[in-house]
Amino acid sequence: MTTTLSPTRPGQAGARSDLAAPGTMTVLARAVAADAVRLRSLRSTWWSLAAGAAMMLALALAVGLDGEEVAPAWLAGEIGIVFAQFALLVPAMLLVTSDHATGTVQSTLLSVPRRGVLAVARLLVAVSSTVVAAVVLAAIADATAWVAMGQPADTTIGEVVASLGDVAIVMGVGTVLVVGTATVLRNAAGTLTAAFLGLLVLPAMLPEFGVPWLATIGESLPGAGTMSMLQAFGDPLLSTSRAVVVIVTWVVVAVVAATWSLVRRDA
């Protein structure tokens, strides 16, 4: 067996770090590159993306071929993302929970021991990949619906871009919340349940009971905020300013809880 290791004299390692200690931005950029490799290298990532794409396309065709009313084509992307977001959230969640489930988190933390940096890197990788996927799929869904409609309602490029921006917000906020929840719970089933309830089920259901305090709870949940950003459902649950308050509050809670959990708890 040949030796490929160069001899390291005692003390030399320390000297090397003093000479070429990379700054925090370099450490962060490297952590992002590593997590991007981790995300890309799992089959579940691509299966989830495929499932999300299939859902988006199916809903786009349903919207496009529904001849009852004349609708703008960008409706397709918005309706699609309400449901497909859960498929796209799965890889972001697994990036965190599979690390804990398999023990790979050990080697992750050995390579990036500055946990605050790791938390930020995780969020950057997760949010950028889900948002890009969501916007691209929504654009494809809009185009599909536009073709299928034959006679779509008049729409401008500006409206389509604004709609895609809303899709990006919904996806980005959902991802931050899911990565935050996953970091705290370290468990896939719990995270997915919380995401379903908080982003879709409870905000849609609680106001329906006609009980004021239940409605208030429903309107305070993150899904009430994100869905109010979409135009697809006619009258939004919340005004834009209230929606922004709800969203920002939840994002801050998620980021703080995740960072605290990662920094304070033993791996």
Partner: protein, 309 residues
């Protein structure tokens, strides 16, 4: 150099590591010995920042691990050979680690070659044997060409060729001037690999000494003698040492306590007693270790005494 400075870890009432103070020097293999549950793994996890000490600190080359911007270039650790994502290819696992510390990707293929995993590196880890995972873990530890290496139970799951390979690797890494800390509960393994020993029991440091010194700790246990004239031999040894029959039941075999083979041989010569066998019974590291740790084993099987039965 690894420095443990009154390092302690408590889990509620349980004290896993109790004010451990020691230095692990470069250029030699330091064995970290102790029974299961003695606190070896917890100590190693605190050295690399996975667990937070309740008190005290652990430093690597004078720095806290979490202050190292490119830790893999300074410290390589193999803590848990099962800790891989089964769906990821072996090589990809290393690529992510290389990216995280700015290590060139050529180095990934170099270490895969080094541990003999180059031909299977494109396979998913889920299909690896325990020995292959162990080798992948060692490749990950070597990736940054670090000056400090920690291996927790590094030969578990390896066949005899693999065990010899790891042993040679550890010796070579130490010979290159690196700091090598290897935990094990296998005393025989340490006897062949380590130059220096840290022995712990119930989280406390019992011994910090060269292997030879630990072995010599109790000096010679006894001298085993075979003579055709045991009665004359016993007479010859009167006032010099205690003589007991050996445990094999043969009246010609005797054990002499409290002396050495040299003294027994000379006394027998002066008395004109013929000897057919004369041998120091030395302590193995195993004996020394059992002596040291018997009092500090957490889980001992004890016969149950039934009172008022």
């Amino acid at each position: 150099m690894i420095t443990l400075d009154t390092l302690s870890k408590h889990y509620g009432e349980t004290v896993a590591v109790d004010q451990l103070t020691a230095e692990v020097a470069p250029g030699r293999v330091t064995g970290f010995l102790g029974p299961n549950g003695a606190g070896k793994s917890t100590t190693m996890r605190m050295v690399v920042g996975l667990d937070r000490p309740t008190a005290g600190r652990a430093l690597v080359g004078g720095h806290a691990y979490s202050d190292l911007p490119t830790p893999l270039r300074h410290v390589g650790a193999l803590l848990d050979a099962e800790a891989f994502h089964p769906g990821r290819r072996g090589r990809t696992h290393l690529v992510a680690l290389a990216r995280s510390n700015g290590i060139p990707l050529a180095r990934v293929d170099e270490v895969l070659e080094e541990v003999g995993m180059a031909s299977v590196a494109h396979r998913r880890v889920g299909g690896y044997s325990l020995g292959m995972r162990q080798r992948l873990g060692i490749a990950a530890a070597l990736l940054g060409d670090p000056g400090v290496l920690l291996f927790d139970e590094s030969v578990n799951g390896l066949d005899s060729d693999g065990v010899r390979w790891v042993r040679d690797l550890l010796r070579r890494l130490a010979a290159e001037g690196r700091t090598v800390l290897v935990s094990s509960h296998l005393m025989s393994e340490m006897q062949q690999t380590a130059d220096h020993l840290l022995v712990i029991g119930r989280g406390r440091l019992l011994v910090d000494a060269p292997v030879g010194e630990v072995l010599a700790g109790g000096a010679v246990l006894a001298v085993r003698v075979r003579t055709p004239e045991p009665d004359r031999f016993v007479t010859a040894m009167e006032g010099l040492a205690e003589v007991h029959p050996a445990d094999d039941g043969d009246p010609h075999d005797l054990l002499v306590h409290g002396t050495t083979a040299v003294q027994v041989g000379e006394a027998a010569f002066r008395a004109g007693v013929p000897l057919h066998g004369l041998r120091d019974l030395e302590r193995s590291l195993e004996d020394a270790y059992v002596d040291l740790t018997t009092d500090s084993v957490e889980y001992v099987a004890r016969p149950t005494v039934l009172e008022n039965a």
